[in-house]
Subunit: 621 residues, 2 copies
């Protein structure tokens, strides 16, 4: 008995005071006795009682609820999501050596709250946590009837969604939010993957609202559909609200930090990206899973990317992670191109963003090296070191450089920050059942993608770069993709999707000017695919494709059947060898404007000679 009293005394003491006298204070949370109890203030107080402390917060396994009323709040600019006033539960700002260990606890977040904020913090470890929400940030339902002629379908709305209909428009809602319908996708209820050729069912909400009529019993009839086909009976229709308004509640907001470790975390849902890290050095994800909860009848986990890294540095590593059922990529590692709006004087420029969801991004700071590129051919025209930067508004920055900048007054210039580029290692991960790509890679530092499983709806690994649409920089210079399995990607039907898709956006007339990417190795991968296209590569200097096994499947009817498995354009220093193709016909290799070729003409299942058969889908103009 005495032992227990002593233990309780210690617990009470560590919960109410937090001193920095010892290296690491421990705070313990036992499971709430009342399941509805709000732990928001308790967590806030522990973290704020002593902002200098280095501590571990341990939760006993169990369920903890967090509500918005007492949550810490501030205005944040979160690139590639939507900026705004946001509430946060675990808010780490300017902290170091903090560990938050859930010991397998489940955190249920209610309403518009972002679970984790990590800003200007160092050595932060968060682990052993399950993240759930009271109400999902997307609407889901089963199509129980449809009428192709009338262009209507009846949806049995999931019980997890609250909704109302006003003036023929359906609004779905949660604890403290409500949103109209917008971006949508049709999923297959059995495979929990996007329906084959799901693009046919996509409603163009920019043109018309879906008109909603309540039929009772949680069934709503939608008419006014602007899509090629009505969704099939039995499929799942999901809607996350209008673009520009549906990326508010990320799972982890990470900004200007260093050494972040996320271990053994299940993000079952988020109302934007599950993890978005900006300007952060070295991030390690181990068993960081963005997945549906076992037994859930839902089909969407994160309503945007599982992970996303913008102008980070150091090393980003992912090991043994599962990324499933997101409405966007598993990861996207890139920098940002800003547009040069005005040359103010010989060493000063004014910049703006090319995409509205980049506005407010912390583009550069004093001492950073920036690279100027020509927006037409994406090639460098100079560099400069930042002397000062002034964000006058979220879309108008002035940068003064240490030295005179090149005279590019007559050129259309974009600028990227090459001080902030990370290396990347993705190992033993799997990506499936998500809309969009598996990985998007745009970093000049070394990249290793090894022993993963990819089965996303769009491309497997996309290496793009553009200064005219997404404005995501920059070129790669050292990418190795080996020992991975790719299975039946590209089922969405939106446009051809390659297993490895290297497609910087360069106008046809400028492709002769040079090469954007370099040194990409794709080897020892296993590809099972129903559509023929495997690799599309544009503007690469140094591309090795070797010892890959490609097996044609009959899983789905082909969608883009007129493409060569390997389609290379404006590339140089190419080596293709040891690949195997198993399919109905021999595979072709298409080359346009390519040089310095080493192509093994005896590859199993391949035609002996290369062909010239331009891929009409990829940016021909």
């Amino acid at each position: 008995m005495r032992r227990y009293i002593a233990l309780i005394t210690i617990l009470v003491v560590v919960l109410t005071s937090c001193s920095a006298q010892t290296n690491k204070i421990k705070h313990y949370f036992s499971e709430a006795s009342n399941n509805d109890e709000d732990f928001t203030s308790k967590v806030f107080d522990v973290l704020n009682n002593d902002k200098e402390s280095e501590c571990t917060i341990e939760f006993k396994t169990g369920i903890y609820n967090f509500y918005p009323e007492k949550a810490y709040e501030k205005y944040v600019k979160i690139s590639n999501n939507d900026n705004g006033l946001r509430k946060f539960i675990f808010a780490l700002e300017g902290r170091k050596n903090i560990t938050i260990n859930g010991n397998g606890a489940t955190f249920i977040f209610h309403g518009s709250v972002i679970p984790f904020l990590v800003e200007n913090s160092t050595n932060i470890k968060i682990e052993n946590i399950n993240i759930e929400y009271d109400f999902p940030f997307d609407l889901e339902g089963v199509v129980v009837a449809n009428n192709q002629k009338e262009k209507t379908f009846d949806l049995k709305i999931n019980k997890e969604n609250k909704y109302k209909i006003k003036d023929d428009i359906l609004y779905f809602s949660g604890y403290d939010w409500e949103i109209g319908m917008g971006e949508n996708i049709v999923y297959n209820a059995i495979t929990k993957s996007p329906e084959y050729f799901t693009s046919k069912y996509e409603h163009n909400f920019n043109k018309h609202f879906l008109k909603a009529t309540d039929l009772g019993n949680n069934i709503v009839r939608f008419s006014n559909l602007d899509a090629a086909k009505v969704p099939p009976v039995g499929s799942i229709y999901s809607d996350k609200g209008p673009h520009g308004k549906n990326r508010n509640i990320v799972g982890f907001r990470v900004y200007k930090s260093k050494n972040l470790v996320l271990n053994n975390i299940n993000v079952y849902h988020s109302g934007a990206m599950a993890l978005i890290a900006e300007k952060t050095e070295t991030i390690s994800l181990n068993k960081f899973n963005v997945i549906l909860k076992e037994g859930s009848t839902r089909v969407i986990s994160a309503t945007a990317d599982a992970t996303h890294f913008i102008n980070c540095k150091g090393k980003i590593s992912m090991d043994d992670c599962r990324f499933e059922n997101m409405l966007d990529d598993a990861t996207n590692v890139h920098g940002t191109y800003m547009i040069c709006d005005e040359v103010i004087d010989a060493s000063t420029v004014a910049l703006k963003f090319g995409h509205f969801q980049q506005q407010g991004f912390d583009f550069a700071e004093k001492g950073d090296t920036l690279r100027f590129i020509d927006r037409t051919n994406l090639l460098p025209v100079g560099i400069g070191v930042v002397k000062s930067i002034d964000m006058i508004n979220e879309n108008y920055y002035k940068i003064a450089f240490e030295d005179k900048i090149p005279d590019f007054t007559k050129k259309n210039i974009a600028i990227e920050n090459i001080t902030w580029m990370p290396s990347l290692e993705v190992k033993n991960c799997s990506v499936k059942q998500n809309r969009a790509r598996s990985l998007l890679i745009s970093t000049s530092k070394p990249v290793l993608i090894e022993n993963n499983y990819f089965a996303s709806m769009m491309a497997g690994i996309r290496i793009c770069g553009d200064a005219n649409y997404w404005f995501e920089s920059g070129p790669v210079s050292n990418v190795t993709i080996r020992g991975n399995t790719f299975e039946n990607l590209g089922v969405g039907g939106h446009s051809p999707q390659a297993i490895l898709q290297i497609d910087p956006i360069i106008g046809k007339e400028y492709r002769k000017d040079g090469y954007y990417h370099k040194n990409i190795v794709f080897e020892n991968n296993k590809i099972r695919t129903f559509d023929p296209l495997v690799i599309y590569a544009l503007s690469v200097d140094g591309l090795i494709i070797r010892n890959n096994t490609i097996i044609q499947t009959k899983k789905y009817p082909q969608i883009f059947n007129d493409l060569s498995p390997f389609d290379l354009q404006n590339c140089t220093n190419i080596k293709i060898e040891g690949n195997t193709y198993k399919g109905d016909n021999e595979a072709s290799i298409s080359l346009i404007n390519c040089q310095k070729l080493e192509i093994d003409s005896k590859q199993e299942g391949f035609l002996e000679n290369t062909i010239k058969n331009p891929n009409k889908y990829f940016y021909q103009n």
Copy 2:
């Protein structure tokens, strides 16, 4: 010639450098040679080249344009308006001794930009400026046809409004913004005042959207009207968008400053309040006019209050100002009640706001004295001095007091800040053609309202105070209203509106507990009114009504004809003498639960005896 060269040299020098060596640097702006030139950066640069400088910025008479692209931006919480990320053209933060003199120049603002920001600044003078916008923030049009049976009306939309119709909903827009329809009012095109009994035409947009059909030639047919009557042909229908989204672009944002002078300024339009000042000490308005531009075909100037002062101190004075055609009050001078959400310990409480548009208000700081009141009877239950305040989110503050607070754990408590209350003087001003009241007064410091002309749609001078609806504090203790003219107010028909309306919101059963307001003198005023009610007073200790002349007009049919001109309830220390009533019948004085009366029974046009005829409209429960 040499003189000119010298002059130009001087001009260039003062425009490009701003040093604090002399007491006041002068910056000159000559009129733009190209009328479309954007002066935003020029103004920004002059103010930011040396943030320590004390300077005068002079404009040559002419037209100057300001655009949003290069405007300074930040997230602001503006009480009684809508919080958000806003752009500002003249941004004064932490400045002192600055004069901005337009010399009669016209500033045309394009899009979502707030003309003036004055924060943490002292001795600021802004004068001789006309403020216009490219596109109005409300939609206006003439009703060219209507159909009472079908509940439709056809509106010829003003040429100044851009609009589109999508899915039967009309959206109007400006340079960089777009909004759907919402709060609306019908104006008379000839008088440019709200239509008589305009409440009949008010569309309840919360229930239904107005369905819009384009008939061509800028004429739109609206159906689905949820109002008692369709707007009359020839009237002006105005709509400013939905509540909670239509108070973004104030004219002047003034915050935590001292000694502000605004002279000879015409605010022809603003997309929220024309002037909103919070926590500011001493403000002087002279010829600060919120009016329509001469010759304009429009009916709305500011889309909310002309001026509004929250928890200011020192003296607010207005002289020779015109406030016309606003969609809300000419002024509202008040404090803020926060609700006690939780008693955390003997000296700490958690607070929240009662009205969503107060959220984020800078309620108190260390050293301020706060008064606790009982929300049922509005009476004080104690005071406390702030030791610290922590805004955890915009609707959850924690305040620690220097001493123990009274035990009010069982009471429903609100808290007001009595350190920040201003005195007020309004002289020689006129208010007309606006929706809502002329003046709203809630301050305990001396108030003098003298020699003004009031002809607003609702009450003339309202002295309210409540801790359950608007949450605007506090009681008055010294108000003199004399020598003013009031003319045919209360035409809107929403509810009875008194010339002097003292109506703190206190439940009937709690009115016996005490008196909320005190010491109000209403004397030597001239009232011309078509409806009988002149003064309604509840819960006043010390009310003098003397030597006023009331003339019944036939301008409109009576709306609330069953009320006594003087209707006093739960008041004490009352003196009524020397008043004159000229009308069809003798005027009555109604008294309920009133004490300590001195009533002259020989007042001209009044019944000899008082009556007891409860006003059923004012908060009887």
